[in-house]
Amino acid sequence: MTLEGALLLGLMLFSLGLYAVLARRNLIGILIGIELMLNAANINFLAFNYFIPTDPAVAQIIVLVVIGLAAAEAAIALAIILKLYRQRNSVDVDAMQLLRSTGAEASNE
């Protein structure tokens, strides 16, 4: 077990998460990708702190904070997803384009 190994694992998880974020159309799928990426980052934090320590327990605390934030984020995100589903009967990210530029309204007078 080496630092490189841990980092590589984090990288793999992150890449998989990224893939999920990009490929999924389901909002929950995207959320899954995000969780994977967060965990990848957590692994990196801990790995660095474990192999090249400068301050003993700081990474654990960071990870705990991240987990807490992830919980909050997941709660909000799932709430939004549910709300969207109720309103639009869909959780497809491609359908969520309300903020796209239409070009027409912007023209003068």
């Binding site: 793999m12 998989l16 990009l22 654990q60 807490g68 992830a70 909000i76 997803i81 549910l82």
Partner: protein, 172 residues
């Protein structure tokens, strides 16, 4: 130790693969749960049992379960629909590019010699002291954030009938 790590790594990777490739979103959430258990194992091998436990408790026990509820509440229409091949290919390309870049950096980076700390420095006691001592601000902030998130989530998903009349008319 290395073996433990390898097992945990394999578990988490397999879980993650499942999580991103399964067409059925419910299966994907299960994959995520597996991956998270694997990650918790990795944490365990990194001398952080408390964090590992928390990972399992919060992620697997909390977030993943919530997701399952969300999936069940929302994706009833066509949960098994697959994304187009082109889309997946492009996403894979980006992900692979990212992986290659990261791998290159990791492979050639010089992290210098590591030196271990005594296990007591990594202990739960140390974490507890720091959390309520040095990093008290982060701790308290986090609690406020969680509180707000709970309240916010409740407000957001409240039934339409409970909302002011005009707010939804416009949106629908």
């Amino acid at each position: 130790m290395s073996l433990h790590f390898a097992i945990a790594a394999v578990v988490s990777l397999v879980g993650a693969l499942l999580a991103v490739t399964q067409a059925n979103i419910l299966h994907a959430v299960f994959g995520l749960a597996i991956a998270l258990v694997g990650v918790a194992g990795v944490f365990f091998t990194l001398d952080s049992p408390f964090v590992a436990i928390m990972e399992v408790l919060i992620y697997v026990g909390g977030i993943a379960v919530t997701m399952i509820f969300a999936v069940m509440l929302s994706s009833v229409s066509n949960p098994k629909e697959r994304e187009s091949a082109g889309r997946r290919l492009l996403a894979a390309l980006v992900a692979v590019a990212f992986f290659v870049g990261g791998a290159l950096v990791i492979a050639h980076a010089d992290f210098g010699p590591g030196k271990k700390l005594p296990p007591s420095a990594w202990g739960l006691e140390q974490v507890g002291r720091d959390l309520l001592g040095r990093f008290n601000l982060a701790f308290e902030t986090l609690s406020i954030v969680l509180l707000l998130a709970i309240v916010g989530a409740i407000v957001i998903v409240r039934k339409e009938s409970a909302m002011p009349a005009n707010a939804d008319e416009e949106a629908s």
